[in-house]
Amino acid sequence: MGFMATSESYVIAIGTKKGLWLATSPDRKGWSLSGPHFLMSEIPSIGIDTRDGKTRIMVGVRSEHWGPTVAHSDDLGVTWTEPEQGAIKFPEGTDAALERIWQIYPDAESRPGVVWAGCEPISVWKSTDGGEHFELNRGLWDHPHRSDWGAGYGGAAAHSIVVDPSGEKVHVAMSTGGVYRSLDGGASWEPRNKGISAYFMPDPNPEFGQCVHKIAADAAVEDRLYAQNHHGVYRTDDGGENWDSIADGLPADFGFVMLTHPRREGTAWVVPLKADGERIPPGSKLSVHRTDDAGGTWKELHTGLPDHEYNAVLRDAASVDTAEPTGVYFGTRGGDVYASADEGETFAEVASHLPDVLCVRAAVVVGRPAGAENPLAAAEATLVAEAEEIVEAAAQTRDPDSEDPATVPG
């Protein structure tokens, strides 16, 4: 099936617990939804690479049965390709196996083809061929702190990667380990968590071990980053040397999301949750909060969002686009997806009743995503094991004479 690139449009890639959906719009007003792709596989990570005037959608796919893999599409979801040997594969001698791809991060425009990945077990990877093959970052993998890093509720993973314009300064955030910084392009790493509380540990101010949930870089101010922590919202103005709380003005300092504006200094978005022990929106009212002064003040953005919501928004289930004004997008664990074309001032529902939303990425692309005209073809293009008939397949192949049925885990 050929694909003809047409005019500019907007795409939201929605990774869920049971597959990927794509939403497209010519104007960010009305959205057409297609999918699912990779039905019954979770999609915890998505990267949309729009460099060089092309669009490549990369997805981390994980089947509970058949394991994790990375697939990519160069035709906006019409077809998917998976490198035969796997894009991310722990090398011999590490005695480790890939569990889940948590982050796919296309690098700067000036470094075409470079894509970073953050994975579980805690590891960072780098591709120089557009995400088809990744190499393990040995500096972090062999770090002496490794044995002391722990697992968050969702697993032990590197989930945030921020690379500065030079490519030399790289910040990684992991749960649980905190923020680590490299000043040599990833060759060596040092923890940079001063000021971030780890109240849940015997020493609440350790060198590392913080449960940082997400970090993001300011668009315009060098060395300024923002962090949403496991209780705590922070900013650093010196590349992580010192972190200061910017939680004042928010209804809660817990949450997972941290987004920054693609161009404008001082603008960031969070989606607060009440508390560690009550992971629901404060007052059960779903709101996004935006700062335009680097955390000095926050504005609640609720127009178009439900007054009653009991689902959380996960760390990667939110995204901005690069349009003007910037679009803000997020999805809930209840399967609802919202889009704003005005920096969060007003939201509209794009999708509802999907499986738990794990990852949302939005971009301005050339052409239309798969399924805009032929959703069936898009779904059929799924390369990874099409598992919609999984139970039936098991039944068909099980030895009918066997008295020893297949294992039935929970």
Binding site: W66, G86, A406
Partner: protein
């Protein structure tokens, strides 16, 4: 030479051109691991679906030799005799 047959669940058959089983030949008995090595040699994606990069069988992939799940035998070291059928079945899992 003895022939061995590995039966695949329907969900994996698209990875091997729609075949419902794969065959291999060997002199005498082989282990399950050796048999998997042999039949997946030309199908690296299938190999990755069944085992991780350390060679370990994925948690919810079950392999039966003559009706017995190999984890209750000797795992991938379980010997397979000529004429025995190998059955791959995924666990009934999820929600």
């Amino acid at each position: 030479m003895a022939d061995f047959t590995v039966l695949l669940p329907g969900v994996l058959q698209p990875l091997v051109g729609g075949q419902s089983y794969l065959t291999a030949s060997a002199d005498g008995a082989v282990t399950v691991g050796q048999l998997l090595d042999s039949v997946t040699e030309d199908y690296p994606v299938l190999a990755r679906r069944l085992r991780d990069e350390t060679g370990k069988l994925r948690r919810f992939v079950n392999i039966y030799v003559n009706g017995d799940e190999v984890r209750r035998l000797k795992g991938l070291e379980t010997e397979v005799a000529a004429g025995q059928e190998i059955l791959i079945v995924q666990s009934v899992a999820g929600g």
